[in-house]
Amino acid sequence: MKGGVPSERHLCERCARELGVHPRPPASPLKVILSEIIASAQGPQAQSAGSPEAQATNCRQCGMPYSQFRTSGLLGCSECYRTFEGLLAPLLARAHEGGTHHVGRKPAHLAETTVPPAAATKVELDARAEAETERRSRAAVLRRKLAEAVASEQYEVAAKLRDELLHASADDAARATPARDDDSPGTADGGER
């Protein structure tokens, strides 16, 4: 059967690509410039979190080594998100166009009992979302222009756009609050049955 349901498993392949599971050496000016952006988006903290020691860690809950995630693109349990948080955070930001924290629906029992640190009211939440959308849209336009400039070999223009994009990323990094959120009971009790 060839037709049918829109396939979504492919997103893991995309994930593998976007999360750098199968990194390829830069082979063209475009890739060189884009890889600089990716490296700068990760920042020194992320690079230290991505050290060989960190990558050798196994999930304390399910025992999955990080190397397996790099191969399969799939995590083993809820606790993997905490165990590998330092490694995952920059990758998630890349895969989600700069999104680092959840905004949106949450389990009813949490909505009743806790106030999320990042969004106390619906108005604030919507305002944050609007700002986030606008910022991403600007970054996306910059990225598109950059790709077009490189494709047409306008390297001076490309370098200028790259600087703008790096500047925007640096602003975002400065705004981002270091996160060590308390997980919900949903993940904290993570015991297996």
Partner: protein
């Protein structure tokens, strides 16, 4: 459902249900269907890539029990009807393929998952298309719940995540689809008569709903719209669509998913990011911003073709109709391509005596499993080409 029992989709009921192909809903001249899906995992259980068969079975039991209880207390049913449960790992190959063609389960769910080997600590992915998996030898416990008879809600259990909820409606109806799926999402975690304890989803304050693949984490939402854009394809303006979607981080894919050519000018547009934006913004970007814009582009292109290049569009439409009415062999790709042209003819008023829903039905009926079920026998590829052409000739006869 076992190998011996008849499946839910018989030759008599094939054209019932699949409400998403009814041609109703907003902007249905351009928007075929709207789909919203949520990825969820049950707290306290490993994700499936690290779960052994016993753990998968436990997840399946918990989810099946809850879904069926909620259905019987009418908490997740919309307009009456019943909730059908199918053990996908026990379903015959043809039955699984029928559900794929009806967009009720994914190809991966039909095929079966990667299997975790706890001794080796490795995941072995069954090779796509291998005989063992296609014939259903992968018996890893997995299932799907489907609202009958409209099939608008389906819940896959043990696909990539423990739960994949989907609402699929005809036309541009994303808000309605989201409201529906949000009710089901709430009901699954809410009180459930007769069930033991609550069901909690894996969730963290920082990352939101936790999913096996980090590309789905956060809202876990995937919103997609199936569009029919023959006008823009003919006028060579598909770049307009690609530009409009690229800046918003949306993906454009063909009818068959990523990597596929757009068979018959059917395209899917969907969100790619799930972390950092609330569902309302993701929905609004598609439903109120991008899709209406594309719909307008397409309508303008169709009008322009009718006004200024009528002979071109007439030739395309009637050439397709002629081929479908006289061909003796048809592949699925050729059928969908020609039916796409005929659909354009119906919508622009060039073809009389045919309805949009009849064309939509043929798109479904000419798929391999539907064809075999409609004719009541299994056929090889060559036989299917003959049977497909016969069926189309019969249904499009003058």
């Amino acid at each position: 459902m076992s190998e011996q029992e008849p499946g839910p989709f018989t030759s008599e009921t094939l054209l019932q249900g699949a409400a998403w192909l009814s041609g109703s809903g907003s902007e249905a001249d351009v928007v075929i269907s709207s789909r919203v899906r949520l990825a969820r995992n049950v707290a306290g259980f490993r994700f499936l890539s690290r779960a052994d068969r016993q753990q998968r079975q436990q997840v399946l039991n918990v989810c099946r029990e809850r879904l069926l209880r909620l259905a019987s207390s009418n908490k997740i049913m919309d307009r009456g009807g019943r909730l059908l449960w199918v053990d996908v790992h026990r379903a015959p190959h043809l039955e699984r393929t029928l559900m794929v063609e009806r967009h009720l389960i994914s190809k991966e769910h039909a095929r079966g998952p990667a299997i975790f080997n706890p001794t080796a600590g490795q995941v072995a992915q069954a090779k796509p298309g291998s005989q063992a998996t296609v014939s259903g030898a992968n018996g890893e416990p997995r299932g799907v719940a489907i609202t009958m008879p409209d099939e608008s809600l389906s819940v896959m259990v043990n696909e990539e995540d423990h739960l994949r909820l989907q609402v699929l409606l005809s036309g541009l109806e994303l808000t309605a689809a989201f409201e529906r799926i949000a009710r089901v999402d709430d009901a699954l975690e809410g009180p459930c008569p007769g069930a033991s304890g609550r069901m909690e989803f894996a969730f963290s304050q920082r990352f939101g709903y936790l999913t096996a693949c980090p590309t789905n984490v956060g809202t876990g939402i995937r919103v997609s719209v199936m569009l029919h854009l023959p006008g823009l394809k003919l006028t060579g303006e598909m770049d307009k669509v690609r530009r409009a979607t690229r800046d918003m981080s949306l993906a454009v894919r063909g009818y068959y998913g990523e990597g596929s050519e757009a068979a018959g000018e059917f395209f899917q547009v969907s969100n790619q990011t799930t972390l950092g934006k609330p569902e309302s913004v993701i929905l609004r970007e598609l439903e109120s911003e991008i899709i209406p814009q594309i719909v307008q582009y397409e309508r303008t292109a169709r009008r322009m073709l009718l006004d200024k290049r009528r002979r071109l569009i007439e030739d395309k439409v009637f050439r397709a109709l002629g081929t479908l009415r006289h061909a003796r062999l048809l592949t699925p790709d050729e059928a969908i391509m020609l039916l796409s042209d005929v659909r354009l003819g119906v919508l622009t008023g060039l073809i009389d005596g045919l309805t949009e829903s009849r064309v939509n039905q043929l798109i479904l009926l000419t798929q391999p499993a539907h064809l075999q079920r409609a004719l009541g026998r299994e056929m090889d590829q060559g036989e299917r080409r003959e049977a497909r052409a016969d069926l189309v000739r019969q249904r499009l006869s003058i």
